[in-house]
């Protein structure tokens, strides 16, 4: 495998647009990894397969919609699917910021040779403030959800194990949750707390906790 991170970040609806912006700030080449960016409409099945085969990235960071057996790209085109092309992720550590993929696809990826799969075994929920939809990076509600999950790719790039990346992110989510239930939080932030708690409980690591990219 090569020291590279493959990022998919479609932006065809409001939810994916938030992930589009927030995933870009999560990764950079400071730690010696090449960043391969499949953004917007480039996040499609053909490009994904081609980039994976050519670059053999040690980390793959998906953003978008998903289900228990698939992860989607631009316009919800399925780019990885159980029983179809999950073998492409052989040798990689994967973080899938999407719904439910850890439930089955994660297991299938690991069975087909992926080192570890970090994802969610229920629906991933993103809460945001309607007043900030034109400036996702300034959204004080979305920040509480996306900053902690950005710690996963960032930690992997720094050389942490898959288990450590998961734990760091989980601890940061818990810290944010405690802020959200405090009197310092805004009404929006407080009302979003049940959704962050759901993400905390559904984020899991499948495969080797000790895997390093």
């Amino acid at each position: 495998m090569n020291s590279a991170l493959l990022l998919t970040r479609p932006n065809h609806d409001i939810g994916t647009n938030y992930l589009y912006y927030w995933s870009k700030v999560a990764v950079n080449s400071t730690y010696g990894f090449k960043i391969l960016d499949l953004k917007g409409s480039k996040a499609n099945r053909t490009n994904f397969a081609s980039y994976i085969k050519k670059h053999k990235p040690s980390i793959v960071f998906f953003n978008g919609h998903g289900s228990e057996n698939s992860i989607c790209g631009y316009n919800d085109e399925v780019i990885v699917e159980s029983g179809s092309n999950e073998y492409l992720l052989h040798g990689s550590i994967i973080y899938a910021r999407c719904c439910e993929a850890a439930k089955r696809l994660g297991l299938d990826c690991v069975e087909k040779g992926a080192l570890a799969f970090i994802g969610y075994n229920r629906k991933y929920i993103l809460a945001f403030s309607n007043s900030y939809i034109t400036g996702p990076l300034s959204d004080p509600v979305a920040r509480l959800f996306l900053e902690p999950s950005n710690l996963i790719p960032r930690s992997l790039l720094k050389g942490n194990t898959a288990g450590e990346a998961h734990q760091k992110s989980r601890r940061a989510m818990l810290k944010n949750l405690r802020f959200m239930v405090s009197s310092s939080a805004s009404e929006d932030q407080r009302d979003a707390a049940p959704y962050l708690w759901a993400n905390i409980n559904s984020q899991v690591v499948v495969g080797d906790f000790e895997a390093i990219a």
């Binding site: 609806d13 719904c99 929920i125 945001f128 309607n130 509600v141 009302d191 049940p194």
Partner: protein, 83 residues
């Protein structure tokens, strides 16, 4: 179906209805500006849309009720304050 099973089903249905009412009241009291993305397609929901969803017996409605109830239970038990 035995009498016991019939009674249990009725109780489950009543409990589910109570839970739905509780969650509807919580969402009504929530901020108008808050939206959520959940699920796989075209998935942003405003407060009003969540309230509409909660009237139905859909997968999404069950998911939102589950999320809210788990949060309330875990708040009450103190689980969310543990590491």
């Amino acid at each position: 179906m035995t009498q016991d099973k019939k009674i249990r089903r009725l109780e489950d249905k009543e409990t589910m209805e109570e839970a739905r009412k509780l969650v509807i009241e919580r969402i009504k009291a929530a901020s108008d500006d808050l939206k959520i993305c959940i699920g796989s397609k075209n998935t942003e929901y405003s407060k009003q849309e969540i309230l509409e969803t909660l009237k139905e017996d859909s997968e999404l409605s069950k998911e939102i009720i589950d999320v809210q109830l788990k949060y309330l239970r875990d708040m009450a038990s103190g689980t969310i304050y543990q590491d």
